[in-house]
Amino acid sequence: MNRFIVPVIVFLALAGILYVGVVRSPDKSTMVSALLGKPAPAFELPVLGGDPAQTFSSARLAGHPWVLNVWGTWCAACRDEHPVLLEVAKQNRLPIVGLDWRDEDDAAKQWLTQLGNPYGVVVVDREGRTAIDFGVYGAPETFFIDADGRVQYRHVGAMTHEVWEREFLGRVPHGVTP
């Protein structure tokens, strides 16, 4: 009997390690942002629908919590989350900046005209450089940036009311208004 104890212990230890590895393996839909707790990348990008010289700088958002939503008209899940964005935008609790990622301006403008516009401003990232700075790997992705300009949360995939309440509004300190 004794001679089986060591192999059984080794087996259980190995099984435990593999179990933890499999359960905690990075799932595409839950990958944690590498930017959490770090300053949000600064950007200055053209404004969708503005005149060509008009740009919007992320510096203008300093001092208040805000939300960056990465989307594109080529993205099916963005269409799914759009009604949710429209509803939460009406609450007027957090400004939502849209990052139109690797998209056509005309298609994006048409999308907002047809479906409604939940964004305070939409900036155009045609070359995908700002998206890379944010570590974006798919759309939609939505970031919460606090009043100190730090990334505190990233949601990958379509926004839901539950996620908005818990992870976004839940991170706004009491008494803060947009």
């Binding site: 390690i17 070359e127 450089r129 790997y137």
Partner: protein, 141 residues
């Protein structure tokens, strides 16, 4: 004759592979080109996680290849380019995990298992050797 035809067929297949290559970037000098090809094979395509950015056709991979090419031309070192990727996407973007932090276990666990296995094998072999020596039923020479 048959063999020649087979060789021709395989040569043809290789050719299609080359002409359908995803990445056609050509950098101004041969050394940069070699570093470019090595580096783009080090980074994971975050959308299609078992491909490198060198062999992924998705838009994000081509954007990341563009960034690698631009940084090489701008004179950045390989380590600076790796740091750029890790800063944005985390260690998971490296196909070869770094030998530090929590990723160190990826390297140490198999090594520990190997050493442990060798120790166990030595112990077993020695014990058996002793058993044979002590065996009273052994025939006298």
């Amino acid at each position: 004759m048959k063999r020649a035809r087979l060789v021709a067929l395989f040569a043809g297949l290789l050719l299609t592979q080359a002409t359908l290559a995803i990445d056609t970037t050509v950098l101004p000098d041969e050394k940069l080109q070699q570093r470019y090809e090595a580096l783009t094979h080090e980074f994971r395509c975050m959308q299609c996680q078992n491909n490198t950015i060198a062999d992924s056709p998705v838009g994000l991979a081509s954007d990341l290849r563009r960034d690698v090419a631009e940084m090489l031309v701008a004179g950045k070192t390989d380590d600076e380019i790796r740091a750029y990727m890790v800063q944005r996407y985390g260690n998971v973007i490296l196909f070869t995990p770094p030998f530090k932090g929590s990723a160190i276990w990826v390297w140490l666990t198999p090594l520990a298992a190997l050493v442990g296995g060798i120790v166990v094998a030595i112990v077993i072999v020695r014990r058996r050797g002793r058993l044979v020596e002590a065996d009273p039923t052994e025939e006298p020479p």
